[in-house]
């Protein structure tokens, strides 16, 4: 398994699935991928198609060279390496890949996209997996990151722009944690950088319409 040089040595290979049947479904599509049992679990043969549709990436093109992982600046904090995420999608191991931390820890920095010799965009695969995980109600192991994305988008949907103070307040409420970085938040405040009053767009209906009509427009459901 390839890792970022000098880092991530503590990571172990993904554990084999323990078998919760709710997420994994048996195949029924025309391609002859027979329901092989791995560690007592049937792979989700539709996962790959779903990810390909949502991400626009050809998952099968990945030949596991590990370039994406070698350059990933967040690999040290991930539980699965970026190339492993793609591998699990290829194998249809939905349960592991949808519950991993990595899809939430991907910073979207595009280093992997720039380096993949197969023109696969691993970050787009991560985006699609987050979407599918949310649709299937899988609890994000990085709850605060999920809450952050929600608070951010709620702020945009409400006012058309991000209002930091409102977003931080919502994040605090959601994660039931006093924002870890109170000094930092206060620092910004005293430097006059956080405004207590939001400056919304005028045509808020236009932004609401974008959310209403374009959010999750693409089918993420299996059928």
């Amino acid at each position: 398994m390839l890792r970022r040089a000098g880092e991530g040595g503590h990571q172990t290979s993904p554990a084999l699935p323990q078998g919760k049947e709710t997420v994994l479904k048996t195949k029924d599509d025309s391609e002859s991928r027979s329901p092989v049992s791995i560690g007592g679990v049937t792979p989700d043969s539709r996962l790959r198609d779903l990810v390909e549709r949502l991400s626009g990436q050809k998952v099968a093109d990945c030949y596991q060279c590990g370039e994406c992982t070698a350059g990933c600046p967040v690999a040290f904090a991930m539980d699965l390496m970026p190339n492993q995420v793609t591998r699990l999608v290829q194998l249809g191991l939905a349960e592991e890949v949808l519950a991993c931390r990595t899809i939430w820890l991907c910073a979207g920095c595009q280093t992997c996209v720039a380096r993949c010799p197969q023109l696969v965009e691993p970050s787009a695969i991560m985006d699609a997996l987050r979407q599918i995980a949310a649709e299937r109600g899988i609890k994000a192991p990085e709850g605060e990151i999920e809450a952050f994305h929600k608070a951010f988008l709620n702020s945009v949907e409400r006012s058309g722009r991000v209002h930091e103070m409102g977003m931080i307040a919502e994040l605090k409420l959601k994660t039931r944690k006093f924002v870890k970085d109170v000094p930092v938040g206060l620092g910004l405040f005293t430097k006059g950088k956080l405004s207590p009053l939001p400056k919304p767009v005028k045509d808020r209906a236009a932004v609401k319409k974008i959310f209403k009509e374009l959010r999750k427009h693409e089918e993420t459901a299996d059928e």
Binding site: P73, T111, V156, V162, K191
Partner: protein, 299 residues
């Protein structure tokens, strides 16, 4: 509309400040406007622009993450202008959405339908640093320099989103960009050679996984220092907030001194061009640049 006009009139752009320049990056907005005016680049703010969705819209599907930046592009097309974007993250979102709508008529139709304006594909999306450095060229900028930035050893930090993905963006090299390095040289400073020009600082976890951010940002800052820099210049409000605001926390975490002031490239320009407004920027920095500027006689 992709090329700058040949005639001598002022260059005009539809300006997309983005949310940060109205809050955490007020000094970037102010120095951008001052420098642009001094260089004869006219920035007309896109009326009623909305947030581009940043990294958060990605997890909600391709349509939303195109539609949010898409509305701004459609509004700019109404102005008949190319778009100037100072924030690297916003620039990335707008440029990628523009490229995707240009290549996918179905997607462009959907966004046009929801926004109520027809996508034409006539406005280019450009990062401000590209416009400032490349429209008139470094010679013209050099001619405006009033104070050489001698003694400033600058690590030019491009971050991740300004140059990637190269298949879509590509105003500079994705691994070894030089735009800001050349600018620093033109202003009389000294760009240092260092390997972390495009390493990610982890800004998207600023409010969540502080431990992850501190490691990533700390790596960038230490590398800059170890390569001989006495300051860092950047072109992104998210990079700035991280490198500047987090520095104190990183120092107390590891017990080592880093002490690197961080500049927006527009601040260095304003400083070199002798624009007085730049003095009002320093109080917004967490790591004050004033001691270094006094030391190097750049003030």
């Amino acid at each position: 509309m992709s090329s700058a006009p040949d005639n001598a009139g002022p260059m005009k752009y539809a300006y997309y400040p983005g949310c940060s320049l109205h809050s955490t990056a007020k000094e970037y907005d102010a120095s951008t406007r001052a420098v642009s005016e001094a260089l004869g680049v006219e920035l007309l703010e896109i009326p009623d622009w909305n947030c581009c969705g940043a990294s958060s819209a990605h997890g909600e599907g391709h349509l939303l993450s195109t539609g949010l930046p898409g509305r701004n592009i459609l509004l700019a097309e109404q102005m008949g202008l190319d778009i100037a974007v100072p924030c690297a993250a916003c620039y990335n979102r707008l440029a990628v959405a523009n490229a995707e709508m240009r290549s996918d008529p179905g997607l462009a139709e959907k966004v046009s339908g929801v926004v109520g304006l027809q996508f034409q594909g006539t406005s280019d999306v450009r990062p401000l640093v590209d416009i400032i450095v490349n429209d008139d060229g470094l010679e013209a900028i050099g001619a405006r320099v009033r104070r050489q930035l001698e003694g400033l050893k600058v690590a030019c930090y491009y971050g991740c989103l300004l140059v990637r993905p190269p298949r879509v963006l590509g105003f500079d090299d994705a691994d070894e960009p030089m735009t800001m390095d050349n600018l620093v040289t033109a202003l009389g400073g000294e760009p240092v050679t260092w390997p972390h020009k495009t390493e990610c600082c982890g800004a998207s976890f600023s409010l969540t996984r502080v431990d992850v951010v501190q490691k990533m940002t700390g790596d960038v800052l230490r590398m800059a220092r170890d390569c001989g820099a006495n300051c860092v210049v950047c072109a992104c409000p998210l990079c700035m907030t991280n490198l500047d605001m987090r520095q104190g926390g990183i120092e107390s975490l590891t017990g080592e001194k880093i002490g690197l002031p961080i500049f927006y490239f527009t601040e260095l320009l304003a400083l070199a061009m002798g624009l007085d407004m730049v003095k009002s920027c320093w109080k917004m920095h967490f790591v004050s640049p004033e001691p270094l500027l006094r030391e190097t006689a750049a003030v």
